[in-house]
Symmetry: C2
């Protein structure tokens, strides 16, 4: 039970050091002015008292909070990674981060409000779903940087990876391995999926495979990936297998397609669902089918998963985002910027040359 020994205040430090609070304040924040002697006295006093400035009070006084607000989807591992990097980037620039998680009962709008209550000086939105218009409106009143998605909203800074290029890399990689029938598992409605899909389509076209291009409905989670596996008519799912998920299987509507030898998924989670379903159905990956994910998430890196994936290089994005915010905050930038980073393909074990079964069970398909 906190027996509140009355946390020491600046005044205590000052009087103990025999100086004014003004000097003490200056010293403690390492600002020029106070002489060496004063400096030392204050520092000593502070140490002895175990003084820690009251953030609330100092924020009120100085008119800044030095706070960057971040909205994120806690259940996204990609966001989790970004957060880590944001945190360190902010640290380095003397900012602190307050995160506002999105939950079932707490949408983006509310999350943002909460951040504003904290007087965050800039909003970093991870993969925001807010419509552009709303983003733009927000940007009129605050500094906002959208991370990870394209945004046509006036005034907002954007930091994102060139997702279309990323998917392109994946496709090229697969083509380089001899694949031609390469399918794309779409993501959830939204600007991110749109861009990736475009990337897929234009890469296929560029490589002369426009005819082989196939987009199946998918989504952003394992479930959707699994559904997509069925819709793809992959080996173990003879065409009769139309209704693995009776209601939801919108993919089935898309009609028949040639069975692909490789699949690029919207993200790692979907890829995972896909993988799981395939393997359980006796399909060998990468022997029978190659799979590429997107995000290069921690899971993809696990030895047991070892998923070829496209990395959005979260560190770079995080740094760029914080940079964007601080430029506005500290350097007075006022024109919005859009930073598009080049994603990287990370080749792992789920992709292999076409028709070259590398695993021993390449043939096991019919129970």
């Amino acid at each position: 039970m906190p027996s509140r020994p009355a946390r020491p205040r600046l005044e205590d430090v000052a009087s103990r050091a025999g100086v004014s609070t003004a000097s003490a304040s200056l010293v403690l924040r390492g600002r020029p002015g106070p002489g060496a002697a004063t400096r030392e006295a204050v520092l000593d006093a502070a140490r002895e008292l175990g003084y820690r400035a009251d953030r609330t009070a100092s924020l009120l006084a100085r008119r800044r909070t030095q706070l960057l607000g971040v909205t994120m989807d806690v259940s996204s591992t990609f966001h989790a990674e970004l957060l880590e990097d944001l945190q360190t980037a902010a640290d380095e620039r003397g900012y602190d981060i307050v995160v506002s998680p999105l939950t079932r009962t707490r949408d983006e709008r509310r999350a943002v409000e909460s951040l504003l209550d904290f007087r965050c000086e800039a909003l970093l939105l991870l993969g925001p779903r807010l419509p552009d218009a709303e983003l733009a409106a927000l940007a009129e009143e605050h500094h906002v940087v959208a991370i990870g998605r394209r945004a046509q909203a006036a005034g907002v800074d954007v930091v994102r990876a060139a997702d279309d290029v990323g998917v392109g890399l994946a496709v090229e990689h697969l083509v380089g391995l001899g694949h031609r029938d390469i399918a794309f598992v779409d993501g959830p409605r939204g600007p991110i999926a749109t861009l990736r899909r475009q990337g897929y389509r234009s890469a296929m076209k560029r490589l002369g495979l426009a005819d082989a291009a196939v987009v199946v409905d998918g989504g952003g989670d394992e479930e959707s990936g699994a559904r997509a596996a069925a819709a793809l008519h992959l080996p173990s799912e003879p065409s009769k297998g139309r209704e693995p998920e009776p209601a939801d299987d919108r993919a089935a509507r898309r009609g028949r397609v040639r069975m692909p030898s490789a699949v690029v998924a919207f993200n790692d989670r979907a890829a995972l669902g896909l993988l799981d379903r395939l393997r359980r159905d006796g399909v060998d990956v990468p022997g029978d089918v190659s799979v590429v994910g997107y995000d290069d998430s921690l899971i993809a890196r696990l030895a047991t998963v070892d998923l070829t994936s496209v990395s959005q290089i979260p560190e770079a994005m995080a740094t760029a985002a914080v940079e964007a915010a601080t430029q506005r905050l500290d350097e007075g930038r006022t024109e919005p910027v859009e930073l598009v980073l080049e994603p990287q393909l990370v080749v792992r074990g789920t992709t292999a040359p076409r028709g070259d079964p590398t695993t021993r069970r390449g043939g096991i398909r019919e129970p």
Copy 2:
């Protein structure tokens, strides 16, 4: 670009409503005193101006922050779930939550410091790793509630599930299905794993299976689960396969054990790794081996995974934790409490009666 139209202050609202700031303040916080006329005037003025109280200032004035600090491991989906529920529980009681993520470069100590800088009135630590002594020390100065782990630290409230009971439920379930050789995949060092292991051992003893009890080294992630699969000498891994992971495989040291027909894993992630490895090696789950996880995480619930697991009922834990905090804060409770909730077994598709291969590929074991 924020063209700062000078956010309205309480004073603005007050003067527009033609009353004093004192009245305005009272009204806006819904406190008794102001009459109906005043009330309305203030509310109207506030609405027209789009007034929102400056949290920093009000916190400074009233000596409270109404903030609950939460430390969590962002990469843990279980923590993510808890966070959601904490958020809503806090909301209901008029508290706000500030989360302080643990990252590679930001250990628990720092995370806590950051929370204290925010003047959080209570600290909710999710699965804290801090040694008991440190927890106790912290509890001398602050209200702290440890969530999800046992703690022998004076003064700290504890909210946790009876993990030993939980594992017991899993074992009973398996025994009920006819299994006798039930192995336990251990977790990472720490109080949580210890308790679960104990639960396993005593359940086995209670059911007269003490001799069949086997604990293999594991860990808290997929990787570890996969390693454990190898160490378990499961079907497809003939005894020669001793060094699947040359260096790390401490499990190998444990010597031979009878091949289990069921496995209880430390948590869902480990169970997942285990599952993945088994299935890739052609072992049928639950036909050949039953698997039970722990946490009832979102992943376990996915149709494609459908893992039998033990739920720590996060909603209940979250509510209890916030309750514990507010009791101290608002009701003056001063004696520490330990709330132990009963976990629930959620039976899904990875467990089945022993020797009853429900899937078609029950026999495929030898490549």
